[in-house]
């Protein structure tokens, strides 16, 4: 069977160079980075090296980089850790947080938990192109707003948010509040978090330029191993730990260092940090993606593309096939050795179609027919040719099967 992997936004294959870098740390260099003997020291030095590399990549201090189990944990840390610290320090105060309605569940679910504990949550709607408008964010801010969390790149439709502009807006609001705070003392400082999981390969990741206080990313979306990620926490940001234990990472995130995973993450970042190679790779991915969309438009009628085409990562094509159900498309493609994903309800375990597509105003009957193709480093033109050969037949067959003609 063919093996055409077009689900790189779900997870990426591990880069051979990443795997190779990790191997010694799963064999001879097995040390616990917290041990004081030479075995431990070797592991600690390795971890410190990656921390420094990450700091360089993100434009922050190495000490502001924390290793986690992945972006879900990092997102939870941002939402619950910050709000938890503020709640603890200000009894009786009811904080307000703003998250976009198209966030990943790793942000939405902790936000939902907080709202059960009395925290006020605003779910900011994007426009129908999948972009958060600065004006709508400005209007959502209140005197008790302590956190804004907006994802850098959406995982389903690939749209890129204006994170640096949002960062600038929040900075201005904070400065204005600070100047007048002496009079009112009621306005809180607003902290800014971005879930950058889908952005790392494609966007500027400098946290200073972005103006973020917290940032999340995951290794397995960038050709690294699963089970390791980063949480960037700017110095001075209030934080209450979620995981307590042996005081690793300054007690911010306890737990034995996942040395091999951290090494793999470091290698994955190193490959992306090679700007020339990264640029070439993204250009190739964009050409393939555009070729895919062009081919689908040519051979299949009644399709729609979700999300803005310009402010969008080069890897993503989110397409609605009208009058067909997404999971059926996915299963038939899978049968042909082509892996994609869908925003259909049927794939989610709930009966609701994708909250992202709903947030950008796609009607449920259309959202059921959405397919996400997400390309990556290892795709070639032949992969796309194969999709363009199989997909029209599958859509035709499923449309014939439907009672709605």
């Amino acid at each position: 069977m063919k093996n055409i992997y077009l689900d790189n936004a779900a997870t990426t294959p591990i880069d051979p160079a990443v795997l190779k870098s990790m191997e010694p740390y799963l064999r001879a260099n097995f040390g616990n980075a917290s041990s004081l003997h030479y075995v431990g020291l070797e592991a600690k030095r390795t971890v410190d090296g990656v921390q420094e590399k990450m700091g360089h990549f993100l434009g922050c201090l190495p000490q502001e980089v924390y290793f986690t189990s992945g972006a879900t944990e990092s997102d939870n840390m941002a939402i619950l850790g910050l709000t938890g610290a503020i709640l603890r320090a200000n009894s009786g105060f009811k904080p307000h947080i703003v998250v976009s309605a198209m966030e990943h569940d790793a942000v939405l679910e902790p936000a939902k938990q907080l709202s059960k504990d009395g925290v006020e949550v605003t779910y900011l709607k994007p426009n129908n192109k999948g972009l958060i408008e600065l004006d709508s964010l400005r209007k959502a801010i209140k005197n008790n707003t302590v956190l804004v969390s907006i994802m850098y790149v959406n995982n389903e439709i690939g749209t890129i948010q204006l994170i640096a502009e949002i960062g600038q807006l929040i900075k201005e609001l904070n400065e204005k509040a600070a100047a007048s705070a002496k009079a009112t003392a009621s306005r809180r400082k607003i902290y800014f978090h971005t879930d950058a999981t889908q952005a790392v390969s494609y966007c500027d990741m400098n946290v200073v330029k972005l103006g973020v206080d917290m940032l999340s990313l995951s290794a397995h979306k960038i050709y690294g191993p699963k089970g390791v990620g980063v949480f960037y926490l700017k110095r001075g940001t209030p934080f209450r730990s979620l995981i307590w234990g042996g005081h690793q990472q300054d007690g911010i995130r306890s737990g034995t260092y996942n040395v091999a995973g951290i090494v793999g993450l470091g290698k994955a970042i190193e490959l992306i940090a090679d700007k020339k190679k990264n640029k070439e790779e993204n250009k190739k991915i964009k050409e393939l993606r555009d070729y895919l969309i062009k081919g689908i438009k040519k051979s299949i009628k009644r399709i729609r593309i979700n999300g803005d085409m310009i402010r969008r990562v080069p890897s993503n094509a989110s397409i609605i096939f009208e009058g067909v159900e997404g999971e059926s498309i996915l299963l038939m493609l899978s049968q042909k050795g082509i892996a994609v994903s869908t925003g259909s309800a049927c794939s989610s375990g709930s009966l609701e179609p994708s909250h992202v597509l709903r947030a950008i105003g796609v009607k449920p009957e259309l959202a059921h027919g959405s397919i996400r193709f997400s390309l990556g480093r290892f795709n070639v033109k032949k992969d796309i040719d194969c999709v363009l050969k199989e997909l029209p037949l599958i859509i035709k067959r499923l449309r014939e099967m439907s009672p709605l003609k």
């Binding site: 009058g323 059926s328 299963l331 309800a345 049927c346 009966l351 449920p364 099967m401 439907s402």
Partner: protein
């Protein structure tokens, strides 16, 4: 998440299509929830003179489970007397498929309802003719 039997029915559904001169038709579901099934039946008589489902076909817009349960339903109902076919329970179709994921059990219910509606449609029509 689907077992092999479900996938088999999904990939090669049985009795998929339209009966142009159907005696009874039942359409259930809606596009908002994502699944629509349309069941066509032809009614004949067996040697004992009982009314039977002599032919059955389906058209379905929906997920893998919706297509597989439609296909399975037609297999189960074909040749049965209307009375027996009417007794195919809400979850019997899923059971016959060797089980469905929890979130997909409604597809089995939908197929059951589609057939019930087609039988009902036939009964209404035959009443009018009498």
């Amino acid at each position: 998440m689907y077992n092999e039997k479900v996938l088999k029915h999904f990939q090669n559904p049985h009795n998929q299509g339209v009966i142009k001169d159907a005696d009874g038709v039942g359409q259930v579901g809606n596009p908002v929830c994502g699944d629509i099934m349309k069941i066509y039946i032809k009614v004949g008589k067996n040697k004992k003179g009982q009314e039977i489902v002599s032919d059955i076909k389906f058209e379905t817009l929906g997920c893998g489970a919706a297509i597989a349960t439609s296909s399975m339903l037609t297999d189960m109902a074909k040749g049965k007397t209307l009375e027996e076919a009417g007794k195919i329970g809400k979850l019997d179709i899923a059971n016959e498929l060797g089980g469905l994921p929890q979130a997909k059990l409604h597809c089995s219910v939908l197929a059951h309802e589609g057939l019930a509606k087609a039988i009902e449609d036939y009964k209404q029509k035959s009443k009018k003719h009498k």
